[in-house]
């Protein structure tokens, strides 16, 4: 999935030191709609355990024998189950809401990782130029050549519980061993690692443009160290770009996580994941369609929300597209 809708040359920079983009951003309708959806989802996700404790919401992993009908099939919506039950008698609504916790957490964590990596490499390449730039961009291109999802599937497929001894086998130091298990941590690491190459080009282009601006030239002429220039001038000014990239990237990481869960290599059961619910619910689609439709709609809403935010941010920050 294309992971950026922005054309980097169009994003304009405010004069150094200005923070005028704040209020303008939130006045944009798309951003408001997107942000509203995200906040709603996040609130539900955060509140879920409390709601369960107060018995407003059911348990997401409790297999309720009353949750299946006489033939052992899921119940349709109604009668205490707002969206019906799944193939093990669990409440679909509860699982969708708890699934938001998984998706939003992994999505955000993966995005942060990807942005961090992308920034590191992109800023270094753009700022220092020359051979370093060439090498880093070659490296990025290599990573870009493999479809992200394919790489993610390959990595996630490896997570089958085996133990890795990172040190040579002759050294019998076991303490650095770790187990490759499926879980939230390994998943966000994989997704973040697979996403960063897509961000580098844009960041680097920005940094290249910025490098030639007067205030940067001036700072360097005055003898400011590279670190100061980067931290004080470059980074704050690519912030708008990074925000847009970040928003759109979360949309992608959520889709990736859903895809991996769908294939069965995401967070293991009984954790509720949207992709996993769709995959489990497929055989029951004809008798209990909500099992597949509800988590699908949830994914679409979440991803759409972040895409809208990204688009709205972009329109605010890119005067050419401003209406």
């Amino acid at each position: 999935m294309a992971d950026t809708v922005i054309d980097p040359t169009g994003v304009d920079f405010p004069p150094a030191g200005s923070r005028g983009t704040g209020p303008a951003v939130f006045r944009h309708r798309l951003v408001r709609v997107g942000a509203a959806i995200v906040i709603l989802l996040a609130l539900f996700a955060l509140a879920a355990p409390e709601l369960t404790r107060r018995h407003v919401l059911r348990e997401p992993i409790q297999q309720d024998p009353k949750g299946l009908d006489a033939d052992g099939l899921p119940l349709p919506a109604g009668g205490g189950y707002l969206l019906g039950t799944d193939n093990l008698g669990r409440d679909v609504l509860a699982r969708v809401i708890y699934g938001a916790r998984v998706s939003l957490t992994i999505g955000t964590a993966a995005m942060l990782l990807a942005v961090f990596l992308g920034l590191t490499i992109g800023v270094t390449a753009g700022y220092y130029g020359g051979k370093l730039d060439l090498a880093l961009m070659r490296f990025t291109e290599i990573n870009l050549s493999v479809p992200a999802i394919l790489l993610a599937i390959a990595f996630a497929g490896l997570m089958d519980g085996r133990t890795v001894h990172p040190l040579p086998a002759a050294w019998h130091w076991q303490f650095l061993d770790f187990q490759l298990q499926r879980g939230m941590v390994s998943l966000f690491l994989i997704i973040g690692f697979v996403c960063w190459p897509g961000l580098v080009r844009v960041i680097r282009a920005q940094v290249l443009a910025l490098r030639e601006r007067e205030f940067v030239q001036a700072a360097r002429a005055l003898g400011a160290s590279d670190a100061r220039v980067i931290a004080g001038h470059i980074l704050p000014n690519i912030l708008p770009t990074v925000l847009v990239l970040g928003a759109v990237n979360i949309a992608n990481t959520i889709l990736l996580e859903a895809g991996l869960s769908y294939l069965g290599i995401g967070v293991p059961p009984p954790a509720p994941t949207w992709g996993g619910m769709i995959s489990d619910g497929q055989p029951y689609f004809i008798t209990a369609p909500l099992n597949v439709i509800a988590p699908g709609v949830a994914i679409v809403l979440a991803v759409l929300a972040f895409n809208l935010i990204g688009r709205g941010l972009q329109e605010t920050l890119d005067p050419r597209l401003n209406r």
Binding site: A2, S145, P147, G157, G259, F285, N307
Partner: protein, 307 residues
């Protein structure tokens, strides 16, 4: 020009080798008893030992990498651990299906996205433009597997307008292509829209209008051609993303393409097959980029070299 081309070719080759090395390390670095998946769970210890020797599984990693690269240089992608089929022949057998699917998908979305993109530029600011924007963003947000299932269930199973699955005739490609088109198309509508805006306000367009050329002529003759340039570029880099969408689509519609091969081989831990598919997709991406790069320079010589 030739110099440039050769340099590009060289770097493309280097990229591919690097992809091979990196992927090899990442996939093989983690120890696991591959011998079992080759020989089957019933195999005796002796059989497993033979298998380990045959596939050099006991050798240290760099040695195995050396074997693998030498093999690649001979053009041999190895044999599947599972079925002993040649990886190259497996991929080549399935490539036409994936290619047909991708091409159909691209044609479909171009048929839809190009007119829509042009029209939204023409009618910017109106409800039409806004609606298309939202719809495009919506289509970007659909998970491929979910959309594929919905289309399959409603249009193929319920209404019977299309075959449900398998690759029996050209009609089998229509729904999968539609899935790909919907998912990728939104992005291009937005891109075309953005670029059309530029072009319609550019000096040459203003001049043309002043000279009395009709809006339609401007739109389609001048603006469109210029607006398509970035699309072509992005299409090149987007092959990787397209292949990603293909994986789920092929899975749901049971099309015998590279996508299903990739997923099956990962689940079976069929390492040569995984390497083969990764390398193949990398080759595709690199080749398409190379071609696009050439075309790009040919279409618009003013564009400076990137890196």
């Amino acid at each position: 020009m030739l110099n440039r081309m050769l340099t590009r070719l060289f770097w493309s080759a280097v990229t591919l080798v690097a992809v091979a090395v990196l992927t090899f390390f990442l996939i093989n670095a983690v120890p696991g008893d591959v011998a079992r998946s080759i020989a089957g769970s019933k195999a005796s210890t002796e059989v497993l030992q033979q298998v380990r020797e045959k596939y050099h599984l006991n050798d240290p990693l760099p040695v195995r990498l050396g074997h693998y690269l030498a093999q690649l240089a001979r053009g041999d992608l190895g044999h599947s651990y599972l079925t002993d089929q040649s990886v190259a022949s497996a991929i080549l057998t399935r490539f036409p299906t994936t290619a047909a699917l991708c091409v159909s998908g691209v044609i479909l979305w171009m048929l839809v996205a190009v007119p829509l993109g042009v029209l939204t530029a023409k009618f910017r600011g109106t409800w039409f433009d806004r609606a298309i924007l939202v719809l495009s963003t919506l289509s970007l947000s659909l998970p491929a597997f979910w959309l594929a299932r919905m289309l399959q269930y409603w249009l193929a199973f319920r209404l019977g307008w299309f075959p449900v699955a398998g690759f029996r005739s050209f009609a089998s490609l229509l729904l999968p292509a539609a899935t790909l088109a919907i998912i990728s198309g939104g992005y291009y509508i937005l891109l075309i829209q953005a670029n059309m805006m530029d072009v319609l306000n550019a000096p040459f367009a203003v001049t043309a209008r002043a000279k009395g050329a009709s809006e339609i002529t401007i739109l389609f003759r001048h603006a469109l051609r210029n607006a398509l340039i970035p699309v072509v570029t992005v299409l090149g880099t987007d092959v990787a993303a397209l292949l990603g969408g293909v994986i789920f689509t092929e899975n749901v519609f049971a099309l015998p393409g590279i996508g299903t091969l990739a997923v099956q081989s990962v689940f079976n831990l069929d390492v040569p097959m995984i390497m083969g598919t990764v390398l193949f997709s990398a080759t595709l991406v690199v080749s398409v980029n190379f071609v696009v790069d050439l075309l790009y320079r040919w279409i618009d010589p003013r564009i400076k070299a990137d890196y």
